[in-house]
């Protein structure tokens, strides 16, 4: 294992809180990369920036752990692209990992295949959220989070990323337009008590539903019962 305990990287403003939590949970260093130049980066550019930070701050890493996806756009692309940028063996959606010397063994369920994979350090894995849960924070951890070096903030310049480099090597995709998804449905609105709307609904659409479920549904009048 590495002699140094984990460091953690984040890229956006709201990440600071997460980084402090990581310090509290046992990370030795937390680095936040924050720069106007990097705003609106796609995953291609994000993985480039993370690579620059890793090469500068911890070039002798053994293992990079990434969440399988972010909570905003959920593309799940940054981890694999970081692996590619750093030329590492990698596995996504890992459920369990074991380290034996310099060999990493991982288990995962992908496309309904249960796989056990092995690779040598240095390596990268992305971990899906349902299999590992954060441990509780200890008091020592809290001191670490709010004392010590705290979260180190690096700008693009500190990573030798300038505007012209970023223009040619940064984002590949461009967002042309953002819009709300439109509805194109008939949109019948039913209102009233639960029993009134259910009766109205079933009477009106019983055929549609019985066709879909392959069973017949009896029709009843509103006043038939109760």
């Amino acid at each position: 294992m590495a002699t140094e305990r984990p460091i953690i990287l984040g890229v956006k403003g709201e990440s600071e809180e997460v980084l402090r939590e990581a310090l509290a949970l046992g990370a030795d260093r937390a680095i936040l990369i924050c720069d106007k130049l990097l705003a609106g980066s796609d995953t291609y550019a994000t993985s480039l920036v993370l690579t620059a930070a890793i090469k500068k701050e911890c070039p002798k890493f053994d293992l990079i752990l990434c969440g399988s996806h972010t909570s905003d756009s959920e593309t799940a692309q940054v981890g694999p692209q970081l692996a590619e940028e750093l030329d590492l063996p990698a596995a996504a959606y890992v459920e369990k990992l074991e380290i034996n010397g310099r060999t990493l063994r991982v288990r995962r369920l992908v496309d309904n295949f249960r796989e056990t994979l092995e690779m040598e350090f240095p390596a990268l894995v992305t971990v899906s959220m349902e299999h590992y849960r954060p441990r509780y924070t200890e008091l020592m951890g809290l001191e670490n989070a709010f004392g010590g070096n705290g979260v180190i903030v690096l700008g693009a310049a500190a990573l030798s990323i300038n505007a012209s480099l970023f223009k040619s090597k940064g984002s590949r995709t461009k967002v042309r337009k953002v819009f709300l998804r439109k509805a194109q449905k008939e949109n019948v609105i039913l209102q009233g008590t639960a029993s009134a709307v259910v009766t109205e609904f079933l009477n009106k659409y019983q055929r549609k539903i019985s066709t879909a479920i392959g069973k017949s549904i009896e029709e009843k009048k509103l006043n038939d019962e109760e």
């Binding site: 756009s73 496309d111 056990t116």
Partner: protein
């Protein structure tokens, strides 16, 4: 073999299980549409060992050309080897577009391929089209809000996108169709995979069939609590369907992760979708594909899900659910 002078749209042949194969067929169908607009050729890539079945199937489903590499060395899926092979082929043939299914494999493979080819990639597109200036319009959920983004890759080629299973409809097969099948030798310097496959087996865990269910009952936070949420299973059972859930509900552990419907979960295309207490954030609606008939129940008539519905019932979701179950129990005849 003659190389194509036309532009090329490549579809990665992902065939390892039923859903992977279906998404390949769905992408072929979309590729045929796109190809007409930019006068391109649709080309399916098939790598593996003993792959004639897939060559035949992709031909029948719309491929004009197949690039096939059939070799025992490719017997099992390998991200690193496929990367090397496609990198090689792409440099030689410069495809205009590459489409890849957003299966677990594709979601790991496509980002690496895009990076290696130094080009852009949009994940989980819900629509693909050709823009007026001839670019691939990649319509994808974005910004964590209720938004879709139109994304283009202006300056780099190929233009790449992944698409979830169930987003597009495949065209019916036609076994009299012909495609130009190029059987290529395995590249000489195939890299050794640094990731070793120690064991692999088809999972014995129950396959979630939600992607293929014709009736789905989805629930969100508006169900109120876990107990009330569980009632959705009663309705699903009556209708012979499956239960789906939104992200907050899965996070709150009212439902298993396998039931998650949306961008980070399953893509569904049921004939009938019941949506109880769901506001309709894009992370969820991105998974709804083309549900034929949507019934939404929500106290808030302004919810996005209510506007998307064929029938919008303005009422408490849990109350309507209980009454509906009671009524159906009386009325359904097997």
């Amino acid at each position: 073999m003659m190389k194509s002078k036309k532009k090329n749209i490549w579809v990665f042949g992902d065939y390892r299980n039923y859903y992977q194969n279906r998404v390949t067929l769905q992408l072929l169908s979309k590729a045929v549409d796109l190809a007409q607009k930019i006068k391109a050729e649709v080309c399916a890539l098939v790598f593996g060992h003993e792959i004639d079945e897939w060559i035949m199937e992709y031909t029948a489903h719309g491929a004009d050309r197949i690039l096939a590499i059939d070799d025992p060395a490719l017997k099992s899926y390998s991200t690193e080897r496929y990367l090397a092979i496609i990198e090689n082929l792409a440099k030689e043939r410069a495809p205009e577009i590459i489409l890849i299914g957003a299966t677990d494999f594709g979601r790991e493979f496509a980002p690496r391929l895009a990076k290696r080819l130094k080009t852009g990639l949009s994940a989980d597109c819900v629509g693909l089209d050709i823009s007026q200036d001839g670019l691939l319009l990649q319509i994808a959920p974005s910004f964590g809000g209720n938004m879709l983004a139109e994304i283009v890759t202006e300056l780099h080629r190929p233009q790449m996108a992944t698409v979830r299973p169930g987003t597009f409809k495949e065209i019916p097969h036609n076994y009299t169709r012909k495609a130009l099948v190029e059987r290529l030798p395995l590249m000489k310097k195939l890299p050794k995979s640094r990731v070793r496959l120690v064991e692999y087996e088809r999972s014995v865990e129950r396959e979630h069939t939600i992607e293929n269910a014709s009736v789905i009952v989805c629930g969100g936070r508006g169900m109120g609590n876990k107990e009330k949420f569980k009632k959705l299973h009663d309705l699903a059972k009556l209708l012979g369907g499956d239960v789906g859930a939104t992200r907050p509900v899965v996070y709150a552990e009212w439902a298993d992760h396998g039931a998650l419907v949306g961008q980070a979960g399953k893509h569904i295309k049921p004939k009938i979708l019941f949506s109880f207490g769901i506001s309709g954030a894009i992370q969820h609606t991105a998974g709804l594909g083309e549900a034929d008939f949507i019934i939404a129940v929500n106290k808030n008539p302004q919810a996005t899900m209510m506007k998307m519905a064929d029938v919008a019932i303005v009422a408490d979701a849990s109350d309507v659910l209980k009454t509906l179950i009671k009524e159906l129990k009386k009325r359904i005849r097997e």
